[in-house]
Symmetry: C2
Subunit: 119 residues, 2 copies
């Protein structure tokens, strides 16, 4: 039976960074949480937009050919499909992601990515 | 060009309750915000799940045939498709919603619903 999702509780269940965890589903979309710190890899998702919401901390989304987006708690951004981007966080940051199930966190980058495990 | 969405800023742009406003899109989904207070109408969405996240306040989601879900800030719930539900808030509450574009807030209820205007 479906239960509510408390974000603080879900973030307390893991420590690793840049490894999204699935906490729920919305139709064929996965709702994920991730801890991030430092710089990720440049990548794009050619088939889908990606929603990023900051829960705690501060996330800078570097975007190819345009100004960075800086997100603080209570702020979100939808990275349009096909737009190359590279998230970076100067301090431990917690984010919520929403994207179609099966979306690799590394998009088109060649490094091994993950679609996330459920927690 | 896409911009970040600051939830407090978006909630400051309107006062009416039970009237979701579109603040962004994710593929063919609309991201909406709504102010709620009091009780809404019982309804179901037969074609889609519906994600509800509380930004401020406290939302009780009454569900047909099962226990209520009580959401506080930082908590969310996905109402499964087809499940009759009726949200209620005892005090002014701000929520974030995600559902496919064109979803009526009243679902299958006969009262006039809205798909939301953009703010």
């Amino acid at each position: 039976m479906e239960q509510k999702i408390n974000l603080d509780d879900r973030f307390s269940r893991f420590r690793d960074t840049w490894s999204p965890k699935i906490v729920g589903t919305l139709n064929d979309y996965d709702l994920k949480v991730a801890k991030v710190e430092g710089e990720f890899v440049w990548h794009a998702h050619d088939e889908t937009d990606e929603l990023l919401l900051v829960h705690k901390g501060r996330l800078v989304i570097q975007l190819e050919g345009r100004d960075d987006i800086v997100l603080e708690p209570g702020e979100l951004f939808v990275v349009p499909r096909g737009v190359r981007h590279c998230p970076v966080a100067d301090s431990p940051t917690e984010i919520l992601l929403l994207e179609p199930a099966g979306t690799l966190n590394t998009g088109d980058a060649t490094a091994g990515g993950t679609i996330g495990e459920s927690i």
